[in-house]
């Protein structure tokens, strides 16, 4: 009963964060709402038994990527988002979006086949063995990718001197 309550609470927080992302006019509020979504997803990863991914999500996603977003929003302080008149095309758009959500949700839910997560949580040792044995090449490739990204960001953001 308690795990279900925790799931409901975290899921409600995640959906509330996503709706705040859409609804709010200030970009900083949207960024903080996204941080809330990421933290509730981290709690859900802990609940499902993947503690390492939960910690990585908080350290990398919520603690580094979103800090970058918050910095950029703070520095490019262009103010509130503009709202134009509500166009009539939006209503079928929203209905189609709901249909998309419902269709994806229905198909996904039925493909899980009523399983639940195994009782033992995913061990970090096994995950790291897999990362460094079978997935060694992608690991090294992503490290080079990060290097390229750092160089690219440096070059792009430098002032023309």
């Amino acid at each position: 009963m308690i795990p279900m309550l925790i799931f409901m609470f975290c899921a409600a927080l995640a959906v509330a964060g996503a709706i705040t992302l859409i609804w709010s006019r200030e970009p900083i509020h949207s960024a903080l709402a996204l941080v809330l979504v990421m933290m509730s997803l981290a709690a859900l990863y802990l609940l499902i038994g993947a503690p390492f991914i939960s910690a990585v999500q908080v350290i990398v996603y919520a603690g580094a990527i979103m800090v970058l977003f918050v910095f950029v929003i703070m520095l490019l302080n262009f103010g509130l988002e503009e709202r134009t008149k509500f166009s009539k095309l939006a209503i079928p758009g929203i209905i189609l979006a709901f249909i998309l959500m419902a269709e994806i949700g229905w198909r996904l839910a039925h493909s899980a086949g009523g399983r639940t997560a195994p009782l033992v949580e995913a061990s970090t040792r096994d995950l790291s063995e897999m990362l460094f044995r079978q997935y060694l090449f992608p690991f090294e490739a992503t490290s080079i990718l990060i290097l390229i990204a750092v160089l690219g960001a440096l070059v792009l953001a430098r002032k023309e001197s």
Binding site: I2, P3, M4, F7, A11, V15, A18, L21, I22, P27, A31, L34, V37, L41, Y45, L47, I48, G49, A50, I53, V60, Y61, I65, L68, F69, V72, L75, L76, F78, E81, E82, A90, L100, M101, I104, G105, L108, A109, A112, G114, R115, T116, A117, P118, L119, V120, A122, L127, M130, L131, Y135, P138, T142, L145, I146, A149, G152, A153, L156, A157
Partner: protein, 103 residues
């Protein structure tokens, strides 16, 4: 504590978050907010990966999630650098102002 909640619940939540990400992507006008909706969609997909990995008791899904997070970090860095240059050149963060190539 694990083993009580059906995996389909996590998958439905993932679908809902993905749909909300699509809505945000289509309806928002600030470049940074559009970028954040992409991150929201990536998070929803991560949740689906983790849910499936735990459903079949394999670790491949978790390794994939790890790589998605890392690549999202690289993409965020470069994307935000582009956004900064855009803001400096067009003096606005509205996506509709980025229309120099329009006929």
């Amino acid at each position: 504590m694990t083993g009580v909640i059906p995996i389909s619940w996590y998958l439905v939540l993932s679908a809902v978050l993905f749909g909300l990400g699509v809505v945000a992507f289509v309806f928002k006008r600030n470049v940074i907010t559009v970028f954040m909706s992409i991150e929201l969609m990536l998070n929803a997909v991560n949740l689906a990966f983790v849910a499936f990995a735990r459903a079949h008791n394999r670790l491949d899904g978790l390794v994939f999630v790890f790589f998605v997070i890392v690549v999202a970090a690289a993409e965020a860095a470069v994307g935000l650098a582009i956004v900064i240059m855009l803001a400096q050149n067009r003096q606005s963060l509205n996506v509709e102002r980025v229309n120099l190539l329009k006929l």
